[in-house]
């Protein structure tokens, strides 16, 4: 019962390690290093990496930029709430506001083109969860996160909020159209 008794051999750290254990430790270590390498490899050769481009901001400053973007690029409005549908200029910037409890506005993009989507919150923390592709990004107030996105397929995409943000959390559903 030596796991609950002091080690029988006083100099336990001098005992040799059995070959089988060494083999397992080496395998596990090699696998850990492969997984470590995989992340770096993906930064170089993979197409799906989260952006490092982030700015400190305030809800007011961010809202002002977003409003200007909406005013300049709105193509129509949708739903009873007249949510603007805004065409993001090719290669250019699109702004998405997260707030209790909507994603504002609706963005319109084209397949295969690359856009810079800005994400920030006006109040609490929210979660940008793009469905059905399943890309999930945390959205914080005070931080403007710029993510370059290239939609790969046409269709109507939904943005689900997946960070708890209060009682109306489940109604926080946004949209992105890809043509």
């Amino acid at each position: 019962m030596s796991a609950i008794l002091p080690p029988a051999d006083r100099l336990w750290w001098k005992q040799p390690i059995d070959k089988t254990e060494w083999v397992w430790i080496s395998l596990a270590f090699t696998w850990a290093m492969i997984m470590f390498g995989m992340m770096i490899y993906w930064h170089i050769n993979g197409k799906q990496n989260l952006s490092n481009e982030v700015y400190k901001t305030t809800p007011e400053a961010y809202a002002a930029k977003a409003e200007k973007f909406i005013a300049d690029n709105t193509v129509r409005t949708e739903t009873e709430k007249n949510i603007p549908v805004v065409k993001v200029p090719e290669g250019g910037d699109g702004y998405l506001i997260a707030r209790l409890w909507d994603w504002y506005p609706i963005l319109e993009m084209e397949r295969g083109k690359t856009y810079k989507v800005h994400l920030s919150s006006m109040d609490y923390q929210h979660g940008f969860s793009l469905q059905p592709v399943n890309i999930n990004i945390q959205v914080l107030p005070g931080y403007e996160h710029v993510v370059k996105m290239t939609p790969t397929k046409e269709g109507t995409y939904s943005i689900v909020c997946n960070e708890y943000c209060g009682i109306g959390h489940h109604t926080m559903l946004g949209r992105i159209y890809v043509k």
Partner: protein, 566 residues
């Protein structure tokens, strides 16, 4: 201070009676928290089950917060305090240092636990276990967490003090036992964790009463997870120590190599805290370099440690069984294991589910880019039900079947039900974790009242498979809760109605461990020199590694198919 020592006639373990009382009370407080948390679990699961949808939104978030706090924090840490007192005073056969301080710690934890539950159940504090700012809870909520943590911190220092007492009074020779070493690992991580918790919860308390104007949400997340994740690493160290303990008690197994197993515990101390960075992988505030360094390179040393324990614990059991003559084929040692003994079956299920489900999913969700597929989805609670519930809670349940006769001097009632309970709870919880991860892979959010988005300006239909997974979550969740309730009934029933057992002899002085070179010591130790080959464990380990590699790369394939991002 005068105390007496009781020698348990069934196990030969010696208890300082002051420490024994603390162990009993901490265990009982833990079970009460588990009971409250379990009732909350029923509310959570019956609401997320789309066909049932029991509670309205406000009550759902309230119940979910209480479930998280009672289970992840209160139940587990109370039980861990009992483990710390056991691993120090009992295993080292000495008196507990400062029992009065230990009681102060206990009562602080009780006050914190009651106050925390009150703050949540009264409303106004449905902020979830993570309580991310700027969403605000009532000041009572933060104060409760602080009091609870301070109480636990005192318990940690009593544990360390007891190690000093044992050393000074020479109650053992050489090094502390491996199980105590594992408990020491848990204790060191706990101290770090609680310090981090204070660093973020104290300013948050001041903010909630209006003395501090603002707390940066990214900074909050960074510091909070230093507590939030490492507190789960206390659990890992504690339950791995319990695996070794059960292997030792049930099989007389000894570690294949003291050096390897202790080194693995040491890796936990060095690297586990850094693993908490994997909660920030989809956050805007951290650079990719920081993410890769902390969550990968460093975290993998902790993963390595778990992979080592995952090998050495079954390896020790296999070696012990083979020495007893179960040497036929690869798995006779396992087939002939006491599967009807809930102490063993609970422990072994904990080991297997923690490794295969919790471990693998934890690494996948903790990989920088892959995290984008699972962040904040139902996959995350799926993962931590596999680690914390299948791993820690199940191991704690298993050891309780040993503690009731030893510590409470009662026989377990309904032995047949005791046999079934680990399987009922362990297997349903494992399936629950799997279907939760399945729903998460399909995108279903965690912490979400209604997956049908009623009242939203648009509609979104989840794939049919997602609804199926959520339905299964409901069914297996209810079965798992039944298994948990059965455990509580059996334990509480045994404490009240179990046959009273002989308490053994009391004495005024502790009997120290036999000196290492005594005949008795040599008889009970075989030493690693005569090493037994463990081919069955090698096969199991390779199976784990193969599943790990396959599942890991399947997820990369899945990631490569989503929108290009940079």
């Amino acid at each position: 201070m005068a105390t007496t020592y009781r020698t348990c006639p069934r196990t030969g373990l010696q208890f300082d009676t002051a420490a024994e009382k603390l162990m009993r009370w901490n265990a009982v407080a833990g079970v009460l928290a588990l009971l409250v948390g379990g009732i909350m679990a029923l509310g959570v699961i019956l609401t997320r089950w789309p066909a049932v949808k029991l509670l309205p939104a406000d009550q759902f978030y309230l119940v979910l917060t209480a479930h998280g706090v009672d289970m992840l924090l209160i139940w587990i840490i109370f039980f861990e305090m009992a483990v710390l007192y056991f691993a120090s005073s009992t295993l080292l056969r000495c008196r507990l240092a400062a029992p009065k301080m230990a009681w102060l710690g206990f009562w602080l934890m009780v006050v914190g636990a009651v106050m925390g539950n009150y703050a949540v159940l009264a409303g106004e504090s449905s902020v979830m276990f993570t309580s991310y700012v700027p969403m605000q809870a009532s000041p009572l909520f933060y104060l409760a967490l602080i009091l609870f943590a301070v109480g636990a911190l005192i318990g940690c220092f009593v544990f360390l003090g007891t190690l000093v007492v044992a050393k000074r009074e020479k109650s053992y020779e050489g090094s502390i036992p491996m199980v105590t070493f594992g408990a020491l690992t848990a204790c060191i991580i706990a101290i770090f964790t609680i310090a981090t918790g204070a660093a973020i919860l104290i300013p948050t308390l001041l903010w909630s009463v209006g003395l501090i104007k603002e707390i940066d949400p990214q900074l909050y997340r960074l510091v909070w997870w230093g507590m939030g994740h490492s507190s789960q690493q206390i659990n890992v160290s504690a339950h791995v120590a319990i695996w070794y303990l059960i292997a030792a008690v049930v099989f007389g197994a000894e570690p294949l190599s003291e050096k390897v197993s202790r080194f693995a515990f040491f890796l936990y101390i060095l690297f586990l805290q850094l693993a908490s960075a994997h909660h920030l992988l989809s956050d805007p505030g951290m650079s990719a370099e920081w993410k890769v360094l902390n969550t990968s390179y460093f975290m993998y040393f902790a993963v390595l440690a778990s992979m080592i324990h995952g090998f050495t614990v079954p390896g020790a059991i296999e070696a012990a069984q083979r020495k007893k003559g179960y040497t036929n084929g690869l798995f006779e040692w396992l087939r002939k294991a006491p599967w009807g003994n809930p102490v063993f079956s609970g422990m072994f299920l904990s080991l297997v589910t923690f490794g295969f489900l919790g471990g693998i999913s934890g690494v996948v969700v903790g990989t920088e880019q892959l995290n984008m597929l699972m962040h904040n989805t139902f996959y995350v609670p799926g993962h931590f039900h596999a680690t914390v519930v299948c791993g820690t809670t199940l191991a704690f349940m298993a050891i309780t079947y040993l503690l009731v006769p030893t510590l409470f001097k009662r026989e377990m009632i309904f032995p047949k039900l005791c046999q079934i309970q680990p399987y009922l709870f362990g297997i349903s919880m494992a399936v629950l974790s799997l279907v939760m991860m399945g729903a998460g892979t399909l995108g279903v959010s965690r912490r979400h009242w209604d997956m049908a988005f009623s009242g939203a300006p648009f509609q979104y239909e989840w794939p049919g498979a997602a609804y199926l997974m959520m339905g299964l979550t409901g069914i297996f969740g209810v079965i798992a809760i039944t298994g948990g309730a059965l455990w509580i009934l059996l334990v509480v029933g045994s404490l009240l109605f179990g046959k009273k057992l002989d308490g053994g002899t009391l004495s005024d002085k502790p009997v120290p461990h036999a000196p290492l070179d005594s005949v008795a010591a040599r008889a009970s130790h075989t030493g690693s020199a005569e090493h037994v080959q463990v081919p069955g464990t090698v096969v199991l380990a390779m199976l784990l590694l193969t599943s790990f590699v396959l599942y890991y790369f399947v997820n990369w394939k899945y990631l490569s198919e989503v929108w290009a991002l940079s």
